[in-house]
Each structure stands twice: as C-alpha cells, then as structure tokens.
C-alpha cells in the first residue's frame, strides 16, 4: 500500500514492512536534542544514570543557547551542571555558550540526516524537516527517559500535503508563506499531523525550507518535512555529510492524505501575525503605521545568513528610527563569522543595530531585550503569545526579516516592498 513520508520513516525505524495511521510504534531516534534544560532533565535521573549509565554517548546533542551567557547564578549553575554531565558520561556532541541556537547547530553541523528520527526537548525541533528528517518535540521527562533507554513511542500521524507553485516576488519570503499557511489553517490546523511540502520545492533554498519547517509546530504539526533534492544534497555535503551516509525517504506518489492545499508563491504578499496568536495573520498593509519600540532579527526561525543579508539589503546606507531598538542575533558562530566577513553585520551596525551573541536571546522573554508594559516588538521569531517577551502588557508582531528591517527605518510597521 502507498505510504507517506511519516509512515515510511516510522516503519523503517520500527523494523516493520509498513505501518498504518494511528498505529503506535516503538522507535530508537538517531539523536536526542536538549539545551539549557539538560540540567533539569539530568536532575530527574541523577541516581538512575549512576546505576545504568547513559544509553549511548552519541545519542544526545546538547547545545547551550537559551539563556547565554548565563544571566545569573542560577542559570550559571545550570550550565555548570550540564558541562559536568557531558564530561562524566562522555557525551560526544556538546556545543557550549556562543556556538549558536540548537536547531541551527543540529543542521549546520550535519547531525540531521535525511530519513532519520530526531526528537528534542524543544518544540522547534521540527526544523530539521528542512533536510528530510523526521524531527519532533518532546518534554523534559521523555528526554530523561530517552537518556536511559534510547527509545520512545510514536503514533503514526495522518499527513497534510501542501503543494507549492512558482516563486516569491521581491519583498516576499518563506516567513510570509508559513505565516499565511498558519493564518489559513489555524494554530491547531495540523494538530497531531505530519505536513509534507510538494511541488516547486526546488525554488526554495535550504534556509527558506528551514524557516517553514521551523514553524510547523505553530500549526500544531508533529513534523513538517521537505523532500531531499540536489539542493539538500549540496547543503549537507557542505555540512560534512556525504551522500552515502544517509538513505533519504519520501512519500509514494499515490499516498493518502488527510487534507491537500496548494499555494502559488507569486500571489503571496508580506504579512504579519498580530498579537497574541500566530494564526492572527493579515497583510502588512493592515498594520502599516503601527508604532514599534523594538525590532528583533534572529532566532531559530530567521537568524541565518540569508535572513541577515535580506535585512542588510534594505538597511544599506540607511539609519533606523531613533525610537526603535534594533536587536540582531546571528543564529550561530558560523553565521556570525560569515556575516562579519562579508560586511553584512557592519551594514546592520552602521544602520543602528545592537548585535547580540548567537543564541535565543529575547525570544522567550528571559533576558537581552525584555519588553516594558505598552511596548511593541516587531520580530522575526515564531511566537507572539501574551507575555512571550517577558512582559504580559507588551505586544509582539511577527514578520519577515525584510519587513522588520523596513519597519526599523520608520519606527512603524512598513511594507518592505516600499524600501526595495
């Protein structure tokens, strides 16, 4: 019987010829991603680890990125506990403060291999669907159990097929597409489901696919995945992964889908997600003129080189409004390096940006740019929930790097097509 991507990956991992939607299977993920929360995860099983040990030294990928450099003694103690765990159990893949955002690191360092399963104690683990990986978020307790057993259960999800046609017009990007989709189907529109992207995927760079897959969880999806094509193979090769190191999988042409949607990329326009839900999506024109006090360019959604360059193209030779604080966080040390070398960061700095170290920064409201009551942030991040940026009387609008850059110039939400 014809199978979807999710069915094929789960069948292979479970050692079965095929699996049916709704079936529960036991799988052994290739990797388990954890970040600053590793200290809390390990704290649950200190005694168990002493008794039975870490199941596999190459299972965990640990990245310190959420509150880095340490905010206070408590977070510093958490980081110290993680380093101790890494050393004691010989964890093979550990990235300390300053290396980058966990999701960028997993892909950039070649840990995400097509056709494999990666679970992570972070909801945006779904990002690795950009390179054909079955990747999904779990909680801390499940991460703790995985460190001991190396296995977990997954229910075979139904799949939604989204077909993409054509190319973006100038000023419109992957962020506008994924916000549009979430606006259309709702924040629970893909609950429990897998989302497969079909059609003219070749027109999207891996970084654009990353932005889209990253926001899969904002429509409730278990995974959001792209097929592996020449662009993926090339990207992975540059990340040190050779073609014979993975066996990509993709859906059969006649696989069964729960729902099918089609988007013509040329028909899309720049959009924003207004407070306080990600599916509250409107054309940017509806909010044009809305005052903003802070702009954020970065995060696991839009902190890669192409995102920084897109913003720099808008801001070259310009100066941001004196009423706006413009925070920029490159997604990793490598992105930082490239953006520094090619002059992108200098352009942003001269325009008035404050460059912060690679990490999650203010996105989760823990530090580095928390809002005050009444303030509005226009952000390239993925969540605009009430209180998200540390203050429940603050507001967050989500948009693309180009929209954020154009808006920073004027201090009000601005259609980026006016600044091209």
């Amino acid at each position: 019987m014809a199978q979807t991507f999710a069915q094929k990956v789960l069948a292979r991992s479970a050692g079965r010829p095929q699996v049916a939607v709704g079936q529960i299977v036991t799988v052994k993920p290739a990797h388990l991603l954890t970040h600053d929360n590793t200290s809390a995860i390990v704290g649950k099983i200190d005694k168990d680890l002493a008794e039975v040990g870490l199941v596999r030294r190459d299972l965990p990928i640990i990245v310190l990125d959420h509150v880095v450099p340490a905010l206070d003694e408590k977070t510093a103690r958490g980081h110290a506990k993680v380093r101790k765990f890494v050393e004691k159990y010989g964890v093979e893949n550990f990235y300390d403060v300053g290396e980058g955002i966990c999701h960028q690191i997993v892909v950039e360092k070649g840990h995400a291999k097509p056709g494999t399963i990666i679970v992570g104690s972070d909801s945006h683990t779904c990002s690795y669907g950009a390179v054909g990986c079955f990747a999904t978020g779990i909680d801390r307790t499940e991460a703790a159990a995985l460190l001991l057993t190396g296995e977990t259960w997954l229910k075979v999800p139904p799949t939604i097929k989204i077909t993409l046609r054509g190319q973006f017009t100038p000023g419109v990007s992957a962020k506008d597409l994924v916000l549009r989709i979430i606006g259309d189907i709702g924040a629970d529109g893909a609950d429990y489901a897998a989302v497969e992207f079909h059609g003219d995927v070749k027109n999207l760079s891996i970084e654009e696919r990353f932005t889209i897959a990253n926001m899969g969880v904002e429509m409730g999806a278990k995974i959001a995945v792209f097929p592996v094509d020449e662009r993926t193979v090339e990207y992975l090769f540059s990340a040190g992964v050779k073609r014979d190191q993975y066996q990509a999988l993709w859906a059969d042409p006649d696989a069964e889908y729960a729902r099918e949607l089609t988007y013509d990329l040329a028909e899309l326009e720049p959009v924003v997600a207004a407070p306080h839900t990600v599916d509250n999506v409107f054309p940017v024109s509806k909010f044009a003129g809305q005052k903003i006090s802070q702009c954020l360019l970065g995060t696991c959604t839009n902190g890669r080189l192409s995102d920084l360059r897109e913003a720099a193209a808008v801001l070259k030779g310009r100066r941001i409004s004196k009423k706006v604080r413009f925070l920029v966080l490159p997604a990793s040390r490598s992105v930082y390096d490239e953006a520094l070398t090619d002059g992108t960061l200098l352009t942003l700095l001269k325009a008035g940006a404050t460059i912060l170290p690679p990490g999650c920064g203010p996105c989760l409201g823990a530090h580095q740019g928390v809002l005050a009551p009444g303030e509005v942030c226009l952000s390239t991040s993925n969540r605009n929930f009430k209180g998200r940026m540390g203050c429940k009387e603050g507001e967050v609008y989500l948009a693309s790097p180009a929209t954020v850059a154009a808006s920073a110039i004027h201090g009000v939400i601005t259609d980026p097509r006016k600044e091209l």
Binding site: D48, A145, G387, G390
Partner: protein
C-alpha cells in the same frame, strides 16, 4: 471541586511564563507561577480535585512541561478540552495527568454547571448528561498507570547495571 473555565489556544506561556523556564523546575518552584499570565487568581485558589475546562488547542506552544508538572502537583483532577497540542498531550501522559478530549462536554458546560468524571469508564458528565471520550491505548495507559514515564522506565530498567 471548582471548575476553571478558559477559552481556545491557551498556550504554555500563559500556563507558565517562559521567563521562569530555566529557574523553576521543581513542583514547589512552579506552583506560585501556574497560569500567571492567564488568571492571576488561579495559583492561590486552586485545590486538589479541581477541573479545568477549555476550548481548542490547549497547551500549544513551547515544549515546557512545567504547566503539567505544576497542575499535577496541585492535584488538578483533569483537563477537559476540545483539543490539546501534541507535546502537552504527551507531557500529560508522562506525568499521569488526565486529559479528556471531548468537545460536546465543553460545549455543554455553562457557568455553575456540575461536572463529574469516570476516568476508567471513559465518561464525563456535565449537569447530569454523559459524554464518552476516547481512552488511551493500553500500551500508553501503562505509562499513566505506573505513575508516569520515569516510574514506568525504572520498572523496565530494573536490574540493568552499567555494563
């Protein structure tokens, strides 16, 4: 038993603000901040046996488990909603917190309605009218029955030593 009624898309930032995620992990640290940005009265007034009733997509957003750990620790008997986000759903299984997906029961609920739950029978009643909800498959029920995933895992690992 008090019923706490909320709407659609109650996300994890409302249930437990992100600014506390790396400083609060134990039930005692979590409890004072439960539902802080949604309902400032909740943390003080919630009592063992209380039930939450909510709309669609309950628990969407971050993978943080503190809302589940906290709600379980204060003794919330169940959350009845039209739907749950998947990571929250798994987290509830992992802590042994009962989630009831039943849109009809939520629609039937009005201020002051009485609610009773028969977890084993897969039934929830609102003002005397009974609705069925799908029970978890036996292999997943075993995790809840063991008292949560870590207890379940420890049972499975019993006797295994570093080798």
């Amino acid at each position: 038993m008090k019923i706490w009624k909320y709407g659609d898309d109650i996300n994890t930032d409302m249930l437990f603000p992100g600014k506390y995620t790396y400083t609060c992990a134990t039930p005692d640290e979590i409890k004072p901040h439960l539902l802080e940005d949604l309902d400032a009265t909740f943390a003080q007034a919630v009592q063992a046996g209380d039930v939450l009733v909510a709309g669609r997509n309950f628990g969407c957003g971050s993978s943080r488990e503190q809302p589940v750990v906290g709600l379980k620790a204060v003794g919330v008997a169940a959350i009845v909603a039209k739907g749950f986000a998947r990571i929250f759903y798994r987290a509830a299984i992992n802590q042994g917190l009962l989630l009831i997906e039943c849109a009809e029961a939520v629609d039937a609920y009005k201020d002051g309605s009485t609610v009773s739950i028969d977890a084993a029978g897969g039934k929830v009643s609102v003002d005397g009218k009974t609705y069925s909800f799908p029970k978890l498959p036996p292999e997943i029920m075993a995790i809840c029955d063991a008292g949560g995933l870590l207890e379940y895992t420890r049972k499975k690992l019993k006797g295994r030593k570093v080798g």
